[in-house]
Point group: none
Chain length 229, copies 2
Amino acid sequence: MTDLLVVEDDTQLVKALALTLRSRGYDVTTAGTGADAVRLATTRRFDVVVLDLGLPDRDGLEVIEEVRRTSSVPIVVLSARRDQRDKVLALDAGADDYLTKPFGMEELLARLRAAQRRAGPGLQTGTVETADFVVDLGRKQVRSPDGEVLHLTPTEWGMLEVLVRADGLLVPGADLLRDVWGPAYATQTNYLRVYMAQLRRKLEPDPAAPRYLLTAPGLGYRFDRTGAG
Amino acid sequence: MTDLLVVEDDTQLVKALALTLRSRGYDVTTAGTGADAVRLATTRRFDVVVLDLGLPDRDGLEVIEEVRRTSSVPIVVLSARRDQRDKVLALDAGADDYLTKPFGMEELLARLRAAQRRAGPGLQTGTVETADFVVDLGRKQVRSPDGEVLHLTPTEWGMLEVLVRADGLLVPGADLLRDVWGPAYATQTNYLRVYMAQLRRKLEPDPAAPRYLLTAPGLGYRFDRTGAG
DNA sequence: CACGCCCGTCAAGACCGCGTCAGGACGGTC
DNA sequence: GACCGTCCTGACGCGGTCTTGACGGGCGTG
């Protein structure tokens, strides 16, 4: 039900954490390096990420920033460093909470619940900004950076909403069709092409070379808010 | 720009907090009792609430729960109690973060930023003003800017109230029907058209070109207090 | 080099949702 | 019992939106 990603290189601690978390009903995936953490967090969907800052391969702050470039998944940081400056750096890098070791398991669990609770409506009413437009999920409309409203039809908005809510993850074409048109349309890939083209024409600076609405040939589509293309 | 509510009975600490926070650009309102805190948090809009659990008049957990009944404003708890159980209780009651005294000011500021980052637009009470009319949610009436009361039928008011309370967010037609007419009417979209037309005739300067009561075709309706249209 | 696959493009007709209007039913008040 | 305000209902027209099919291009494969 609830998917957790636990990033921690201390195998002893990983085992203890995973055991407890699973006993509380969480579905736990583990990673021992920052590279694995970034790869998992940006390609799979998790409800919360528990991240130890003291990783062997790379700086924890970099991991936070890299994940934040494409994902807004809640991140709860674990760290042995109690210094205020470390907390400030981690939180401002995009972390949602910061616990210093040693910590109590019940407190961690409560903070996980709080993080997940906040994230629930988080992507439901917030806005997602890119360099060229702003997606307002609450008002269900798209604006240019200067506030002008870009008009989308209901179907166009439906596709965009699904892609944006996927938070950077790849959305299979069949999923898109099911969510926007309904279960009976899962094979009408024509629709995807028509409406993706219309969305790009309205949103992309250069519709012929998409930067935000990306195609994964044979797999589906993906929304990249960084505009890296 | 950023409105803070600081709830703390230690006048010494309040002064220090308010001074620092204001120097960082926050607009700070203070409350010394739980009763004041609940009243303010439920009647005015704040971006974040900083709440000391050790209040003279009532239990801090009650304050959290009471605020949470009507508001989803982020709550950052301050407390002298370091016990894990206290943290768990506060977080599960609806708090978003928990700091133990003594705490570093920079850490508090970072946690405030993190809490606010998650915040979305919230509900409100009181009055909502536009250039052409004033919606008084308390008195359940609409006035023109010069104070004259614009008469609405109960159903008309019901629709307007739901839209205004949504605070600019899009309200699906089914939600509107459910809230105003009841669960059984969720498909009677005819009603929406008839009553929306009547509301516009009474409130809009030019009912044919709505500026405040906007249609999102295929999705629902939305109230825009700015009158941008 | 030819072929198939997948994706992007385009235009035209069918279709649907919204706004509008007016008539009738219902339930209060005097 | 008559009057008045409010609510429900159905029909109509219009504009925008969805659907559909055909065509073209890039790319890898046989």
